[in-house]
Each structure stands twice: as structure tokens, then as C-alpha cells.
Amino acid sequence: MSDDERGLGFMLVVVAGGLIFGFGLAVSNMARPEVVLDFLQFDDLGLVFVMGGAAVVTGTVFALAEAFGDRAPLTGRDYGRRLKSFDKNVVVGGVVFGAGWGISGICPGAAYASLGVGNYPILIAIGGMFVGAYLQGLWRARRAESAVTGTSAD
């Protein structure tokens, strides 16, 4: 069963979580790229409390769910750690992402929230993110193709 066929309860939980998530991004001013840039330039280190506060909540809830919970009620998925595997892409991606974050002061979640606080020029950044994700996918696909066929034509 696909995630999207899980029904109304599933979607309502996604909506509730998204609303709280976006509300929090606005409360913390992370929806304002200027505030993120102030952090990166050491003018105001408040972002540490945003990321730290959020990580404390998720860390606690994930650990409690794993210890005492069984399966998520709406999907039947079990609460377990799903750690992403480590390879050099994690570092390469971090470098490219960091460069973009340092230039713009914006990341995906904060960009969506930024639109919500009225910051319409952020559509340029969101458009850029789609272009970036598309180019990366295209490049990955090309590389996989040439690896399969064994050609070195390009």
C-alpha cells in the first residue's frame, strides 16, 4: 500500500505536523534568511537553540517510541532507528549544501515557511532548489547509464 492510500487519518497527521513545523520556523525567525546569515556571521547565535531545541524533542520522542512503542498506528511501520548509510557523498553533499546555505541563508524547510511569512522573493530560491535537484538527478542518471553500457563516449 502506498503512503498516499493510507487515508484521512494519515493526511491529517501530516497536516498537523506540517502546520506545527512551519509555525515553529516562523516563531524562531528561521523563515528570515537574514537571521540565518546573522548566525553564520556570528552576529546572533540563536540558531543553535533552534536546532538544539528541535533535536532534543525529536531525540527524546524517537528514543521513547523505540523503547516503549511498537508500531505506528496509521501505517504499521515499526519505530526503529533508520540510519542513513555513510559514504563520501555525505561529505560532498554537505559541502555543496553548506555553500548554498552560506550564500543564501536558506534551506528547504525554512524556504517553504518563508513563503508563508510573505517573503515572495524566496520563490527564486525554491525554484533554484528544484533546478538543483533536477540537475543532480539528471547527472546521476547519465552516470549510471554510462556505467551500465560501459561506454566512455562522453
Binding site: 554537505g94 536558506i106 515557511a113 535537484a133 540537475l135
Partner: protein, 163 residues
């Protein structure tokens, strides 16, 4: 010493810390609600790839996990926009528009899009969820993007790019 601490706090946190901490707790709570209900760790950046599957035939964007999740990821993203809008209407001081130069959004946005897809996550997936679960992969990713971002932002600032 007793006079130094408040001064230091004021220097590092000129706008206080209360709204930062409160906002952070809410961001974590939003993620936790979805996790408890569905078992899914909802990062913000997978939306980019899963949404591309509506428009592109490229197999990479049409992996089963993207096609299966693309509808709720659109709903999640629109809810983030709405949550921020609700705060602005109810508690904010009016709609707000950034003064950051558009080229920074364009160039930065493309790099963020490329980087999050190579690195398997962004500030929410790695920064909030990954760090919360003490994933070494996420800690390395966050440390990397944090250092690079600080360097790039400080360099631009030193070159006189503002805002």
C-alpha cells in the same frame, strides 16, 4: 565575573534566546507528531525529488518511494507554508519580505538543491532528526555544511556583499 556573563550573553544573543528555543521545540514537535502517527521521519528536502516525479520521466525521480510519498509530501510542504502564515497573521508584525539580493537566492538555491540530494538530507532530515537520533552520518553532514556555510557567509560579508 558576575557582570561579564550578561554582557557576553547579550553579545552572542542580541535578540534573546526565548523565541529561538520555543521555535526549535515546535519544529521538533511537528516532526515528532508525524513520526508517532506514521513512523515516518519527514525531512523537508525529499519533497524536491518526489515532486519532480510529477513532471519528469527520469527513473531516478520515479522510484517507488518517491511516487508513493509524493502526494503527502506536497501536503506536508503546503502545511509548512500555512503554519508560518498562521503565525504571521495571528502573532506576527505583518507580512515580511527579505532584502537579501536575488542572485544569492538563485545561486544558493541551486547549490542547496544539488547538495541536499547528494548528501541524502538537509537541515531538517540531518540537522534535526539525524542529530536527534545521534546518527554519525548526520553529525558528519551537519558539521560539514555548518563549517562551509560559516566560511562562505563570512567571506561574502568580508567582500562587502550585504545583505
Amino acid at each position: 565575573m558576575s557582570g561579564l556573563t550578561p554582557l557576553l550573553v547579550e553579545g552572542l544573543f542580541p535578540n534573546g534566546i526565548a523565541h529561538y528555543a520555543l521555535g526549535g521545540l515546535l519544529i521538533g514537535l511537528g516532526t515528532a507528531v508525524i513520526y508517532l502517527g506514521t513512523g515516518i521521519i519527514a525531512g523537508a528536502s525529499t519533497f524536491l525529488e518526489s515532486t519532480l516525479s510529477y513532471a519528469s520521466d527520469l527513473p531516478r525521480f520515479n522510484k517507488a518511494k518517491y511516487v508513493a510519498s509524493r502526494d503527502w509530501r506536497v501536503v506536508f510542504t503546503l502545511s509548512i507554508v500555512a503554519g508560518a502564515a498562521i503565525y504571521t497573521v495571528l502573532f506576527g508584525d505583518g507580512w515580511w519580505v527579505s532584502d537579501v539580493q536575488p542572485w544569492r537566492f538563485a545561486v544558493g538555491g541551486v547549490l542547496v538543491g544539488v547538495g541536499t540530494r547528494i548528501g541524502k538530507g538537509c537541515t531538517s532530515g540531518h540537522g534535526v532528526c539525524g542529530v536527534g537520533s545521534r546518527s554519525r552520518t548526520s553529525l558528519v553532514n551537519v558539521a560539514t555544511f555548518m563549517l562551509v556555510a560559516i566560511g562562505v557567509a563570512q567571506l561574502l560579508s568580508a567582500l562587502g556583499v550585504s545583505p
